[in-house]
Amino acid sequence: MLTIGFSATAGTGARAVGIRPDEELLPSARAADAETGVIGCVLAGKHHFGGDDDDVLPVCTPSGWLVLVGMGPEAGQDGRRLRRIGGNLFAELAESGIEHLDVVLDLSPAEAAELAYGMRLRAWRPPARYKSKVDPDEAWSFVSASIVTSDPAAASAHFARLAPCADGVALARDLVVAPANELTPSHFIERLELLREQGVTCDVFDPLEHDLGLLQAVGQGSIHRPRLAVLRWSGRRRRTSPIALVGKGVTFDSGGLGIKPSEDMEEMKGDMAGAAAVVGALYALAARRAPVEVIGVLALTENMPSGSSCRPGDVVSSHAGLSVEIVDTDAEGRLILADALSFTASRYRPRQIIDLATLTGAVEVALGRHRAGLFCTDDVLAERLMAIGEAEDEPLWRLPLTEAYDEDLKSPVADLRNCGPDDDGPDALHAARFLQHFVPRAIPWAHLDIAGLSEAEEDGPLAAEGPTGFGVRLLDHLVADLFARIE
C-alpha cells in the first residue's frame, strides 16, 4: 500500500524533479542540477529522455536517487496528464528499491492532488492472499510519497475528494480479479458489507419471488442461486428520484449449454465487471458523502451447464412480461440485464438509467480495447457521457441503437429472441436493441458495452495489466455532474 502525503518542503532522500521537452528544467530541477550537475549530463548524453509525459528516468547521484520526470509541454498540463505522470512515476519506481520519494514538480495544490490520484490508481495489485508467498523481488519497495506544493492543506483537501474514487476503483478491481470459486453471487453480496459501513443500504431480491424469470433462467444451471442486489446511497437532505446504475454480474460465465471454447475461459471470472464498476462507483460516492441520490442494481448469477440449465430454445417470461426465446445460452448478459432494467424502472422510477456490462465480443471487434461502446436513447446524456469519458480517460464511442435490425430479433415462438441469426452479425447492436425493449421510453437510458475495457492486456499509466475498474471514475463523475446540474 502506498502512503501519500503533501508537504511544503522536500526532505533529503530520493527526489523527483520535472523536465519539459526541449530540455526545459522546472525550477526544482534547476535547483537539483545546480547541486549535482547530473541533469545536464543526462540530457547531453541523449539517454532517450525527452521530457514527454511518459518519461521517467531514475539517476543515481552522490547525494542519492534523483528521478527525472517528463512533464510534457506547459500548455495542456491538466489533471488528466498529471494523473498519468503520477501513475507512470509509481509504476517505474514500484520495484526499484526506493522506499520514499519526495516529489518536487512545482505543482499547485490541485495539481499535486491529481498527481497523487494517479499514483493511487496505479498502485493496485491483486490481493496477496491468493499466493502463499510473495517473491521478494516483486514486492513493492515504494511505499511512501510526499508531494511538495505551496499549500499542503489545500492539496490534502483536494485529494480527499479524489481518494475515495481511487478506493472505489481498487474495490472494483478486487472484485474482478477474485476467482469464481470465491466470488459466487452470495459471496459478492457479503462483500457489499464494505459499502454498508459507508452508509449505503442494500436490499437483496430472490428472482423467484419477484418474477425475474430471465435472471432465474440464467442462474438455474448453477448450485449458487442468482440474486438481484440493490444498493442505495442517499446523500441529499431529502430523498429524491435516483439515478440508477445497473451492472451485469455474471460471476462465472461458462456459456452454459452453449459452452465456450476452453481456451482463455478463466477470463470469464471477470464477466461481472459491470457490477463491480457499479459497486466501486457507489463506494466512491458514499465515501466522499456526495450529495446525490443513486441506486446500484447488481444482477448476480453464475452461468453453468448442468442437468438443470436452461436449454437453447427455451422460452422464458421476463419481468417486463415479454417472452424471450433463448437461442444462445451464452448471450446471457442481456437476459439478466433485461430483468434488472425493467425491475429498476418499475420499482424505483429513476430519472436516468446507465447500465454497464461486459456484454459482447462484437464490441471488441468494433472498437477494440481503447473505447467502450455507448448506446443511448438520449442525445444530451450521450454527449455528457462522451465528454466525461474523455476527461476521465475512460473513452467511449457511440454506436447505433436502431430499428434497422429488429427483424433479426424476431422469434417465431416468442416476443423476442436473444440473438440475431448470423454468427458474424452486429451482435453488440443486437444486444443493445434487445435491452431497449425493457427500458420504458420516458427514462433516458445509456448502455455501456465494456467487454474490451474491463481488463487490460498491457500496462497503462493508470492501471497495470489486469482489471482496470473501467467505469468507476466515469460513473462517479457522471452522477456528481448530473446532480450538480439539478441544484
Binding site: 471487434v365 468494433a366 473505447r371 464511442w397 447505433p400 458474424d424 452479425g425
Partner: protein
C-alpha cells in the same frame, strides 16, 4: 422500362397506383377515383387492415368502375414525413408489387401533399427514380427464364399536375440511376468476366461521355514504385491496372478536384492466406468500391456536374499461386514506407495505400474519399445498414453524414485515434497489414491514414452494405451500388458550382 410524366388523368389500361396517407386519408387522385366509382377505395379499405401506414399495400383486381386492370393502394405514412426518400420508396414498392403482375403499363399517381416537406413535382421525380432503381435486374446469364418470371412492365407513367417540372427534375436523377446500374452490373459480373483489364475497359467506355481516362499497367506502376498494389496482384495471371478517370465539369481546369478512390479486387481468394470455401463466390464483388467510383463518374458526367472530379481505382486479382506474395513478405509502397504482409487476405489496404498516395501526390485534391469492401469486422460492428465512416477531418465527416441521410445511404462514424495505431506496428517493417481481431476496421483505417498527408480524407468501409441479402425498397437483392447516390449528394451539396 421507359419512364414518362403526364398530366394527371385516370389511365385507360394497365395498373394504377395511388397513395393513401395514414388514417386512410385519401390523396387527390384517390378522392377522384372514389367520386367516379361511388366510393370504391373507401369500401375496399373498410374491409381490410389497410390504414395507409408506410409500406402497407392493398391490391384491387379489376376495380369496378375504372378502366384500369388493377388498382394498387400504397400507404404513404404521415404527410409530414413523406419526403423525397419516402417518395423513392413509394415508387420502388409500387414497381416491386406490379413488376411481374402482367401489366405493360403502370401509372403512378403522385399528388401534392399538404404538409409534406416538398412539392408534387419533386415527389414525382423521386417516385420515378425509386421505381427505376428498383427495376434493376441482372439477368443476362439466364438463358431459359420463363416468360411469367420476367418483368412485364415496359412503361411507367407518372401523373401529376405539372409533368414538365417533374420531367426536368428527373433528368439528373435518371443520370444517377444509369450510374447506379453500371455499378450494380460491374459488381454482379462474375470474376471470369470482370478482371482488372476488362474492368478498365468498362471504365474506358466513359470517355464517350466526356470523362478522360488513363490506364496504367504494371510496368508504369512499377516505375512509380507501387510495390504494395503490385504485390497483391502478382499471384494472378491477370495484369493489375490503375485507372484514372477525370471529369472536368467546373469549367476551370486549374480548380483542384474532388477525388474518389476505389478498391477493385476483382476476385479475392485471399491469396496464400486463402479464405474458407464457403461463400467464397461473394468475393467477386470485392471490387465494389471501384464499381461505385466508376458508376459515380458516369452519373456525374451524365448530369453534367459542374465540378472537377478525379476517380482512381486500383484493380487487381488476389490469387494463390507459385508467384503469389507470401505472408511475411515486405513490400515498399509508393510513399516509400514499407509494409510487412502478415496476412495476404488483408490486401485491400495494400491496394488503397498506393492508390491514395498516387492520387494526392498527383492531383492535390480538395478532399479524398475512398470506398472499399475492406473488413469483415465492419459487418460485426455495424451490420448491413450503415457503412463505416472514418475521417481525419470533422467537417468532411459531417458533410458525408449529411449526404448519407439525404441520399438514404447512411453512414456511422467510427473512431480514428492514435491508440489504435500501435496494433499495426511491425517487428521488421514500418507497419504490418493486419492489427488483429480487435478493432479490425479501425486498424485498417489507421493503416490507410499512414498514406494520407494533409489532405482532408475519409474512408468508407462498405463491406456490409455492398451486397443485399434481401430486397429493399429501391434496391433489389444483390449488388446495391451503395455509395453512388451518397457521393453524388456529397458533390452536389458541397462542391459543385451553383
Amino acid at each position: 422500362m421507359k419512364i414518362s410524366f403526364a398530366k394527371a388523368a385516370l389511365p385507360t389500361e394497365g395498373a394504377l397506383v395511388v397513395g393513401i396517407l395514414e388514417n386512410r386519408e385519401l390523396t387527390a387522385t384517390a378522392r377522384l377515383i372514389d367520386e367516379q366509382t361511388g366510393g370504391l377505395i373507401a369500401r375496399a379499405m373498410a374491409g381490410s387492415r389497410f390504414e395507409g401506414k408506410k409500406d402497407q399495400s392493398l391490391l384491387l383486381q379489376a376495380p369496378a368502375g375504372l378502366p384500369a386492370q388493377r388498382l394498387l393502394l400504397l400507404g404513404l405514412g404521415k404527410s409530414q414525413s413523406f419526403d423525397v426518400l419516402a417518395a423513392q420508396a413509394f415508387g420502388g414498392n409500387a414497381l416491386a408489387h406490379l413488376q411481374a403482375a402482367g401489366d405493360h403499363i403502370v401509372t403512378l399517381a403522385v399528388d401534392g401533399i399538404e404538409g409534406a416537406p416538398t412539392g408534387a413535382a419533386d415527389l414525382a421525380a423521386h417516385a420515378a427514380f425509386g421505381a427505376k432503381l428498383r427495376s434493376y435486374r441482372f439477368d443476362k446469364y439466364r438463358t431459359k427464364e420463363k416468360k411469367e418470371d420476367k418483368p412485364s412492365v415496359k412503361k411507367l407513367v407518372v401523373t401529376l399536375a405539372e409533368p414538365a417540372a417533374a420531367k426536368r427534375l428527373f433528368a439528373p436523377l435518371e443520370g444517377i440511376s444509369e450510374g447506379v446500374f453500371l455499378t450494380r452490373d460491374l459488381a454482379s459480373e462474375p470474376a471470369n468476366v470482370i478482371y482488372p483489364e476488362s474492368l478498365a475497359t468498362q471504365a474506358k467506355a466513359l470517355s464517350d461521355l466526356g470523362v478522360e481516362i488513363e490506364v496504367l499497367g504494371e510496368k508504369q506502376m512499377r516505375k512509380l514504385g507501387m510495390g504494395a498494389l503490385l504485390g497483391v496482384g502478382q499471384g494472378s495471371e491477370r495484369e493489375s491496372q490503375l485507372v484514372v478517370m477525370r471529369w472536368m465539369g467546373a469549367g476551370d481546369d486549374s480548380q483542384a478536384p474532388v477525388a474518389f478512390i476505389g478498391k477493385g479486387v476483382t476476385f479475392d481468394s485471399g491469396g496464400i492466406s486463402i479464405k474458407p470455401a464457403g461463400g467464397m463466390e461473394d468475393m467477386k464483388w470485392d471490387m465494389g468500391g471501384s464499381a461505385v467510383v466508376i458508376g459515380l463518374m458516369k452519373a456525374l458526367a451524365l448530369r453534367k456536374a459542374k465540378v472537377n472530379v478525379v476517380g482512381v481505382v486500383g484493380l487487381v486479382e488476389n490469387m494463390p499461386s507459385g508467384t503469389a506474395q507470401r505472408p511475411g513478405d515486405v513490400v515498399t509502397t509508393m510513399s516509400g514506407q514499407t509494409v510487412e504482409v502478415i496476412n495476404t487476405d488483408a490486401e485491400g489496404r495494400l491496394v488503397l495505400a498506393d492508390a491514395l498516395w498516387y492520387t494526392q501526390d498527383r492531383f492535390k485534391p480538395r478532399i479524398m474519399v475512398d470506398l472499399a469492401t475492406l473488413t469483415g469486422a465492419i459487418i460485426i460492428s455495424l451490420g448491413d445498414h450503415y457503412a463505416g465512416l472514418f475521417a481525419n477531418d470533422d467537417d468532411l465527416a459531417a458533410k458525408l453524414l449529411a449526404a448519407g441521410k439525404s441520399s438514404g445511404e447512411p453512414l456511422w462514424r467510427m473512431p480514428l485515434d492514435d491508440p489504435y495505431d500501435k496494433q499495426i506496428k511491425s517487428e521488421i517493417a514500418d507497419m504490418k497489414n493486419t492489427g488483429g481481431r480487435e478493432g479490425g476496421s479501425i486498424t485498417a483505417a489507421m493503416f490507410l491514414k499512414r498514406f494520407v498527408k494533409d489532405t482532408k480524407w475519409a474512408h468508407l468501409d462498405i463491406a456490409g452494405v455492398t451486397w443485399a441479402k434481401k430486397d429493399g425498397p429501391v434496391t433489389p437483392k444483390g449488388a446495391t451500388a451503395f455509395g453512388v447516390r451518397l457521393l453524388d449528394r456529397l458533390v452536389a451539396e458541397n462542391y459543385e458550382q451553383k
